[in-house]
C-alpha cells in the first residue's frame, strides 16, 4: 500500500519534471512557423534551419569552448581542494571549505555583478572568453568539489598508507592507488562542471561581449524577435546530447557521486 503511494508520488514528480522537456522536443518537429503543441505535422526543417544558422552555431561553439576550459580548470583546482577537504584537518581546511562553498550561498547575480566590475574596471580584461571562463569556474567549483570530496571520502585512507609502506612516494601512491579509484568521481565532477557552465545564464549575461554570447543567451535573444521552432530544435538536440552523455557517465559509475551530493 505504502509502496504504491510512493510510486504514484514518484510518477507525478517525474512527469512534472520531464513535461517541459517533452514539450520542447515535440514542438521542434512542427513543420510551420509557430511553436504549436501538439504540432500540426512532422518535419525536420527546423533542425536543418538551426544547423544552418550561423549565430546559433557560433554560440554553440563558444559555449562548448567555455565549458571545456571550465571543466579542465575546475578539475585542476577541484581535485587538490577535495583531497585537502577529505584528508586534512585544521584552519587551512576551514578556509578551503569557506572559499570553495562560499559561492554556493551567495546569489549568483551578485557574484555576476561583482565579477563584471572586477573584470572590467579592476583587471581591465572586459568581456569575452577569459572572464567567462573565470566566472563559470567560480560558480562551478563548489559543486564540483562536493562531488569529488564525496567520491574521495569513499576511499579507505589506509590504502594510500599501504602504498607508502610498499615503497611508493606520496605522489606515486596518489597516482597509482587513489586516483584510479577516484576516476568515477572525477568523471562525474567533469560532467557536472561542463553542465553548470553550459547551462549558465546569470553570469554569462553580465560577462558576454556583443557577438560572442553563449548558447542560452543566444536562444533567449532569438525568442525576443522570432517565435519559430528553431530554438525548440536546438533544445531537442541538446536534450539528445545530454541524454547520451548521462548514459555514458552513469555506465562509468560517475553519476552516483552526484547523487550522493544531492542527498547531503
Amino acid at each position: 500500500m505504502r509502496a504504491k503511494r510512493i510510486s504514484i508520488y514518484n510518477m507525478v514528480v517525474s512527469v512534472v519534471l520531464i513535461a517541459p522537456l517533452i514539450v520542447a522536443v515535440v514542438v521542434a518537429f512542427n513543420p510551420g512557423e509557430y511553436m504549436l503543441f501538439p504540432p500540426d505535422g512532422f518535419s525536420f526543417v527546423w533542425f536543418a534551419a538551426v544547423l544552418g544558422n550561423e549565430a546559433f552555431m557560433s554560440s554553440l561553439l563558444f559555449s562548448v569552448q567555455v565549458a571545456l576550459i571550465v571543466m579542465v580548470l575546475g578539475l585542476a583546482i577541484g581535485v587538490p581542494a577535495a583531497v585537502a577537504l577529505v584528508r586534512n584537518r585544521g584552519t587551512a581546511l576551514t578556509m578551503t571549505r569557506f572559499a570553495v562553498l562560499g559561492p554556493l550561498v551567495v546569489p549568483e547575480i551578485l557574484l555576476a555583478l561583482g565579477m563584471l566590475i572586477l573584470f572590467t574596471s579592476g583587471l581591465g580584461i572586459g568581456g569575452g572568453l577569459l572572464p567567462m571562463v573565470l566566472g563559470h569556474t567560480i560558480i562551478a567549483l563548489p559543486l564540483s568539489v562536493q562531488v569529488l570530496a564525496a567520491g574521495l571520502a569513499q576511499i579507505d585512507a589506509a590504502l594510500e598508507s599501504a602504498a607508502w609502506t610498499l615503497g611508493a612516494s606520496r605522489t606515486r601512491a596518489f597516482l597509482t592507488v587513489t586516483l584510479p579509484q577516484a576516476l568515477p568521481a572525477i568523471l562525474g565532477s567533469a560532467v557536472f562542471t561542463f553542465i553548470v557552465s553550459f547551462d549558465n545564464i546569470n553570469i554569462s549575461l553580465f560577462l558576454a561581449k556583443p557577438g560572442e554570447v553563449t548558447l542560452p543567451i543566444q536562444m533567449y535573444e532569438y525568442l525576443g524577435f522570432r517565435a519559430d521552432p528553431t530554438v525548440a530544435a536546438m533544445s531537442a538536440m541538446l536534450v539528445g546530447l545530454g541524454l547520451i552523455a548521462f548514459i555514458i557517465a552513469s555506465r562509468l559509475g560517475a553519476v552516483k557521486h552526484i547523487d550522493r551530493v544531492g542527498g547531503m
Binding site: D156, A158, L159, S161, A162, A163, W164, T165, L166, G167, A168, S169, R170, R172, A173, T176, V177, P180, Q181
Partner: protein
C-alpha cells in the same frame, strides 16, 4: 625499570628509544623504549587507546614522533619518509588495492622498487604459494573471503623482503576459528622467513601465541615487557595479571618483612612470600593463579556462595563470593560427573595460597607523567 626491561641490548635489530608521540586528545605514547632482536616477534598488547597502534605507526613512519629515535639495523630512520623505510605492514582492514588483482597487489611493492618483470612474476608466485593463495592470483580482492584477503595482505607485505614486518590487529575482524588457524600459520611463516616483526593486538591469547616477547601497554607506556612465559606465569603488575586473566587478585596487608621474606595477611591467614628483586615497598596485592583455586579440592576450605557459572571448553568458570571475606574468587573448574554447580548454592573453595605472588599496583609512569603535564599546563 620494567619499562626498559632487557631492551637496553645494543644489539637489538629494531630499536625504539624514548619515543614520544602525544596527541591533543591525550592518546599516544610517552617515553617508550623497546628493542626487538633480529627474527623475533614483539607483540604490543593492550586495550584500545593504550598507544600500541601509535607506536606501530611511528615505526612505519605513518605517525611522526615528537621526540625519540627509531632505528633498524643500526640505521636511524626516525625522520625517514615511510616509503624509504622498507617496512612491510599488514593493516587492520588489510587495505588491498581494490582496482588491482591479487597478483598486482602483491607485486606493487616490487614494481615500486623497479624490479624487472620476470623477477616480479616469480617472486609474486612464490609469495602467494607461501600463503597458499596461488590459485587466486587473478581474482580481485572483492572476490575473496576475509581470511583470504588477510593472506594476500600478508604476502604483499613480505614479498619485498622488508626489514621489519608490522602487523596492526590483522586478525581482529575474522571469525574465531580462522583467527586461530591463521595465527599459527603466521607464526610459522614469520619464523621460517626470519623476519623481525611487531604485532599489535588487544587479544592476550594472540599475544601469547605469536610473541617472542610481549610488551603490555597502558596509557601510552609499556607496563611490563617479557617473554610470554614470564608475563603469563609471573606478571609483576596487577594490571598485567588482570589484563591477561592470570588469576585472582587479592588485597593483602603486610605484617612483617625481612630482607628475603615478606609476611602478609590475606583472607584471615598469614603467609610468607619470598621477596623477589622487582618488588620494593610494602606488598598490597597478591595474584593467585587460577589453578590454585578450586571448588572442593584439598586443604583448608572457605565457604562461599556460587554467584555465576559460565561453561567453556574443558570446564566451567565459577565465580564464588566468599562469606567471611566478602571477596569474589574465580575458579576455573574441571567438570566431572560428581560435581554439581548450582548458582546461588553454598560451596567450599580451597585456595592454595602458597602459589600466590605479589604484584604491583601503582599508577603507571604514563598516568603520573600525564598528571604532571596537566599540572604544568595549568601552571603555564
Amino acid at each position: 625499570m620494567d619499562t626498559n626491561g632487557n631492551a637496553d641490548g645494543k644489539n637489538d635489530y629494531l630499536q625504539i628509544r624514548e619515543v614520544f608521540k602525544v596527541y591533543g586528545g591525550g592518546g599516544g605514547v610517552r617515553s617508550v623504549s623497546v628493542g626487538v632482536g633480529r627474527g623475533d616477534m614483539l607483540v604490543l598488547l593492550g586495550p584500545s587507546g593504550c598507544g600500541k597502534t601509535t607506536l606501530l605507526r611511528a615505526i612505519a613512519g605513518l605517525a611522526e614522533v615528537d621526540s625519540g629515535t627509531v632505528s633498524v639495523g643500526g640505521d636511524d630512520i626516525t625522520r625517514a619518509p615511510t616509503h624509504r623505510r622498507n617496512v612491510g605492514m599488514v593493516f587492520q582492514t588489510w587495505a588491498l588495492f581494490p582496482h588491482m588483482t591479487v597478483a598486482k597487489n602483491v607485486g606493487y611493492g616490487l614494481r615500486m622498487q623497479g624490479v624487472d618483470r620476470a623477477e616480479i612474476d616469480e617472486r609474486v608466485a612464490t609469495a602467494l604459494a607461501m600463503v597458499r593463495m596461488d590459485q587466486f592470483a587473478d581474482r580481485k580482492p572483492k572476490q575473496l573471503s576475509g581470511g583470504q584477503q588477510q593472506r594476500v595482505a600478508l604476502a604483499r607485505a613480505i614479498v619485498t623482503q622488508p626489514r621489519v614486518l608490522l602487523l596492526d590487529e590483522p586478525l581482529s575482524s575474522l571469525d574465531y576459528r580462522i583467527r586461530v588457524s591463521l595465527r599459527s600459520e603466521l607464526r610459522r611463516l614469520q619464523k621460517s622467513l626470519g623476519v623481525t616483526g611487531v604485532y599489535v593486538t588487544h587479544d592476550y591469547s594472540e599475544a601469547l601465541a605469536l610473541g617472542d616477547r610481549i610488551a603490555v601497554m597502558r596509557d601510552g607506556v609499556i607496563v611490563e615487557l617479557g617473554t610470554p612465559r614470564e608475563i603469563f606465569v609471573r606478571p609483576r603488575h596487577r594490571y598485567t595479571a588482570e589484563f591477561l586473566n592470570v588469576g585472582n587478585l587479592l588485597q593483602c596487608r603486610q605484617v612483617d618483612a625481612s630482607d628475603d621474606v615478606v609476611r602478609v595477611e590475606v583472607l584471615g591467614q598469614t603467609i610468607s612470600l619470598e621477596r623477589d628483586g622487582a618488588t620494593t615497598g610494602p606488598v598490597e596485592w597478591l595474584c593467585l593463579p587460577h589453578r590454585a583455586a578450586r571448588i572442593g579440592g584439598p586443604g583448608q576450605r572457605l565457604t562461599g556462595r556460587l554467584s555465576e557459572v559460565e561453561y567453556e571448553a574443558g570446564g566451567a568458570v565459577c565465580t564464588v563470593m566468599l562469606d567471611d571475606a566478602g571477596v569474589e574468587i574465580v575458579c576455573h573448574q574441571e567438570l566431572d560427573a560428581d560435581t554439581t554447580l548450582e548458582v546461588g548454592g553454598s560451596v567450599q573453595v580451597s585456595l592454595d595460597l602458597s602459589e600466590a605472588f605479589p604484584v604491583l599496583d601503582e599508577p603507571t609512569a604514563g598516568a603520573m607523567l600525564r598528571e604532571q603535564m596537566t599540572v604544568e599546563e595549568i601552571g603555564s
